[in-house]
């Protein structure tokens, strides 16, 4: 996983609540057995006027001019400003993959759905929770200033606005540590393999049926 260094990026606003994972990446793209190739289909139903499918030629597609992220001023954004309960719905990690492959590295919202929030860290995407009132202020500033950029510093746990205002945020220490260092979760957990094996031995001895494999 890529390390998360200090990010200075263009901010794009998505002004709606409860943005669900079906909207972030519609079901037809979940048929892929690959981990990449989702960026072109991020927000597919909102972003395009036609219906996308795996294998469609991106050059042939009609962009929806009414979708805010399609506006010229937000092209190249790496920070998504969103409303509450972002990422609700399914556990599909294809949602953070799609956002990351679309170019987003950090999402700032008042709240996130639990599974999505957790999945983000696995894809090197940083979800940042800020109070609703601060989010409201950021939406106003983005709208008012073309080319609005924020600096996200995970080490310092602070977002800095163009005017120099610093907004603190908090990330769980273990998640922060892994994202900052680009550590592989599985590798880290396997350092505890002996402890897991020891636990398992006692656990399965107490409940041997957990290890059952009924005959077909």
């Amino acid at each position: 996983m890529e390390k998360f260094a200090v990010l200075n990026g263009l901010v794009a606003p998505l002004d709606r609540e409860n943005v669900d994972t079906d909207a972030i990446i519609p079901k037809q793209f979940l048929k892929s057995i690959h981990r990449t190739g989702f960026g072109a289909f991020c927000f597919d139903e909102w972003r395009y006027l036609d219906r996308g499918y795996i294998g469609i030629d991106p050059a042939s597609r009609k962009l929806n001019p009414d979708f805010e992220l399609n506006r010229a001023r937000y092209q190249g954004a790496s920070i998504l400003l969103a409303r509450k309960n972002f990422g609700c719905g399914s556990s599909r990690e294809h949602a953070p993959w799609a956002l990351e492959q679309y170019g987003i590295r950090a999402i700032i919202a008042p709240s996130f759905a639990d599974i999505f929030f957790n999945n983000c860290f696995k894809s090197g995407l940083l979800p940042i929770m800020l109070p609703e009132q601060v989010i409201g202020q950021l939406f106003a500033e983005v709208e008012a200033n073309e080319g609005y950029r924020l600096t996200v510093d995970l080490e310092q746990q602070a977002v800095t606005t163009p005017s120099g205002e610093t907004i603190p945020f908090k990330v769980d220490p273990f998640r922060r540590h892994r994202l900052l260092n680009g550590l592989d979760d599985i590798g880290e957990t396997l350092l505890e393999a002996d402890a897991i094996a020891a636990f398992e031995k006692v656990h399965l001895a107490r409940s041997p049926w957990l290890d059952y494999r009924p005959a077909d």
Binding site: L30, S91, N118, F174, L210
Partner: protein, 467 residues
């Protein structure tokens, strides 16, 4: 201080507690399907890692599979590849697998309990958010993303933080014809789709205890729609009776030992919850969702709300957006909404009890002329066989329903079962998000009885009036 049910199961699975707030939690059961697993297997392979304990896994294809005749395999090449990838991966790693031809194939959250692979007091994960379903057995069950699917395969553990405890107590006797689905839709209407965020919800109270296991699964299934990663219900005789004799359940002396330990799986009287919500079951009516979020729900006697009367600007905007998408006018009585399609199925409502309840409403009636498709998709091959043995298939077929093969089907429309743009559906599934059942499709979430009643009436109607 006493413990909550959640804390009891959590504490029994802590392998290691970090000083940074994280815990390594041992996972007893891992259920797998074709959509969220291929990249996990790929990752495992690239790193040269093995599956830690193959006996913990069961796998089946469900999301992507056709529900029509499928003896010749899957037409759609991309879907076929995804399913065959699961077949190969399971064979390579020695993972128990229920193939498309196996009678035990079905929706992951239907077959786990059906096989007795879902057991009280266990930790259960699956790359699917509706894994919360299994919490009906006093298990701690939650959905995970693909990276965690890989992590659990490689380490048999999850790295996570303990959530907060929330109690939803539903007391009283629901009126006849008010189902588990109506209870949980009502609860979501009360606490909202983010109401349970960061919490594990325990559902308790006399109305919950009075439910069958099927009903309890319906309730826990939708805990995720209330924002909670997991929902749980205490173990009682209903739980124990359901499990006895199932293939993966303990047998003989193991059964007796297991039952003794399971009986302790309830919150202690002095357990402390971070949040408690009290619901009176006797006031709940059959529910119908009207918008694009499960919290946008009303009793069947209600009218579509008017955004103009809403004070909160964020919510007003969400309502307006939802009504535009749904093609609905404020103040329309729910009963005046005509439908185009009916879907009875999904991991929320495709078990035998659901099919029986729907069949009772349908029996002796015909699908209304304006309904272009009414389909029943049993949750598993075994549910289908049971229903056929009881003659339910003939009731549905005689009324003009289609009787399909098991799978997720039109719950998410990854196969050919989809709504066309603008089509309106009475659906027993769990999500009414924009485009969920097909791009531009309009979903109304209801109970099996209510879906059946809508099918034969052509519009929403209180199913109790057809009893």
């Amino acid at each position: 201080m006493g413990k909550t049910l959640y804390e009891k199961v959590w504490d029994a699975h802590v392998v290691k507690q970090g000083d940074d707030g994280s815990c390594l939690i041992y996972i007893d059961r891992h259920i797998m399907h074709e959509v969220t697993s291929p990249q996990a297997f790929e990752g495992l392979k690239l790193a040269g890692r093995k599956v830690w304990r193959t006996s913990s896994v069961i796998a089946t294809p469900d999301h992507n599979v056709p529900t029509t005749e499928r003896s010749k395999g899957i037409d759609d090449e991309i879907s076929a590849l995804q399913v065959s990838t699961l077949v190969d991966n399971c064979a390579d790693h020695g993972i128990p697998f229920f193939s498309l031809e196996d009678r035990r194939q079905g929706i992951v959250h239907v077959i786990g309990p059906e096989q007795g692979a879902t057991l009280p007091g266990t930790t259960i994960v699956c790359g699917d958010s509706h894994t919360s379903t299994h919490g009906a057995f006093g298990a701690l069950a939650f959905g995970i993303g693909t990276s965690d699917v890989e992590h659990v395969m490689a380490t048999q553990c999850m790295l996570m933080k303990k959530s907060r405890n929330m109690l939803v107590r539903v007391e009283g006797t629901p009126a006849a014809g008010v189902t588990a689905k109506d209870i949980v839709l009502h609860v979501i209407g009360v606490i909202g789709t983010a109401g349970g965020s960061g919490h594990t919800i325990e559902f308790a109270g006399s109305a919950i205890r009075g439910l069958s296991m099927e009903g309890r699964m319906t309730v826990c299934n939708m805990a995720i729609e209330a924002g909670a990663r997991a929902g749980m219900i205490a173990v009682d005789e209903t739980t124990i009776n359901y499990l006895k004799g199932r293939p993966y359940a303990p047998a003989g002396a193991d059964w007796d030992a297991a039952v003794v330990s399971w009986r302790g799986l309830h919150s202690d009287p002095d357990a402390v919850f971070d949040r408690v919500v009290e619901i009176n079951a006797s006031t709940i009516e059959p529910q119908v969702s009207w918008g694009t979020s499960p919290e946008m729900v009303l009793p069947v006697s209600g009218r579509i709300p008017d955004p103009a009367a809403e004070r909160d600007p964020g919510w007003r905007e969400a309502m307006e957006r939802a009504l535009t998408y749904m093609g609905l006018e404020p103040n329309t009585p729910i009963g005046d909404i005509a439908i185009d399609k009916v879907f009875i199925g999904s991991c929320t409502n495709s078990r035998i009890e659901d099919l029986r309840a729907a069949a009772r409403v349908v029996e002796g009636r015909r699908v209304a002329a304006n309904v272009s498709l009414a389909m029943v998709v049993p949750g598993s091959g075994l549910v289908k066989a049971q229903a056929e043995q009881e003659g339910l298939d003939r009731i549905f077929l005689a009324a003009g329903f289609e009787w399909r093969e098991p799978g997720c089907s039109m719950c998410l429309g990854m196969n050919n079962d989809r709504l066309a743009a603008g089509e309106r559906c009475a659906s027993t599934s769990n999500r009414n998000f924009e485009g969920r059942q097909g791009a531009g499709g309009r979903t109304h979430l209801v109970s099996p009885q209510m879906a059946a009643a809508a099918a034969v009436s052509g519009h929403f109607v209180d199913a109790r009036s057809l009893a």
